[in-house]
Symmetry: C2
Subunit: 188 residues, 2 copies
DNA sequence: CGGCTATGGCTAATCGGATTAGCTTTATAG
DNA sequence: CTATAAAGCTAATCCGATTAGCCATAGCCG
């Protein structure tokens, strides 16, 4: 039907790259249009404004993150799985600060929402790890939320330079994971 | 010297209230001026623009939070102190969502910066709790960062409706604290 | 092959909020 | 009582997002 230049997915992907490069704060329609070799208003044929773009970037990020962690924990269990998850998570957040920042403030509605579903997939990976530790179903919700706070908090602080998170960054992160591991092994 | 109507502190405080009421996203110079019964440009005599206002709200929030948690853990140690800290933290974040949101993305520079110093005071309270658990100095940094991730993550998720954090909110939060408590008691 | 139509792009215009410029008032120090 | 500097105000500017409305063309159908 139409001439096939740009697609919505292209715009979102380019937006994500831009956010990673210049920082989430400076993600702007004008800059994005320029990067795509197009005039600003044209973007509105593909996304429904800046807020929509942000939300879609968040969704992309959570989706990619979900794939990354799922792949990372494949065939692993217990400490190995937890460590793999943590490493994959930290790697993603570090490699894509803009994308992850988009997820920090994004409002999640309910089932059916793409962002919600993508989040659910990440949570499912967490649940798989926790089941490997023998966490009971009754406590699963709480344990998942605890992990979520921990990882999300890490990412949020990281992305805003919250800690002077200097050299011993990795060391603290490892300590944190080890702390959780011991705690979970003590559970069952 | 001048006529003494508004002071910088007034503006920041009113901005914080506004943010709590309408949400951090909708914090705007115009609305703030209106609330103060003043025209928008007048605000610039007290704060150095919107970014500065945001930063000062973040500083106010962290300062208030620091006082709240310090008061809460007074004379307590171990599990009691941890629980008191957690309760005070959650209470503050719930009561002042706009203020806390301001702190989430705020860049922290270094010593001498007011926000940095306020943060340091909160961290000192965490350190006091951890010392009560017998955490060694060598691990202190890591333990503090872990707590920080946990609490900050909780607040960030809470403020963006990240969990469906429905009824069992408090329950999960308590579980989380209990998990940390057991982990720390296992340390020493 | 030639016209139809929906779509993607463009220019021009609008809107809204932040910020700046420059003037005016007034509390107060001296 | 007056000089002054802070605090307000109005008017103007800027900039980025968004909207309105027009143009070009790719793909499809006869």
């Amino acid at each position: 039907m139409p001439r096939g230049r740009l697609t919505a997915a292209d715009v979102v992907r380019a937006g994500a790259e831009l956010a990673d490069e210049v920082g989430y704060q400076d993600l702007a329609m004008g800059a994005l249009a320029q990067r795509l070799g197009v005039r600003t208003p044209s973007l509105y044929k593909h996304v429904d404004g800046l807020d929509d773009l942000r939300r879609q970037i968040a969704t992309l990020a959570v989706t990619e993150l979900g794939e990354a962690v799922r792949a990372a924990i494949q065939g692993k269990a217990g400490s190995d799985a937890l460590a793999a998850f943590a490493r994959a998570f930290a790697t993603y957040v570090t490699a894509h600060p803009g994308r992850y920042t988009a997820t920090i403030g994004a409002e999640v509605s309910g089932p059916g929402d793409e962002l919600y579903d993508a989040s659910a997939r990440v949570l499912e990976s967490m649940a798989a790890i926790l089941r490997g530790y023998g966490v009971e179903e009754g406590e699963m919700v709480h344990a998942i939320r605890t992990l979520r706070c921990l990882f999300h908090g890490f990412a949020a602080l990281q992305s805003s330079n919250g800690f002077q998170w200097s050299d011993d960054a990795a060391e603290s992160f490892d300590w944190m994971i080890d702390f959780v591991d011991r705690g979970l092994r003590g559970e069952s």
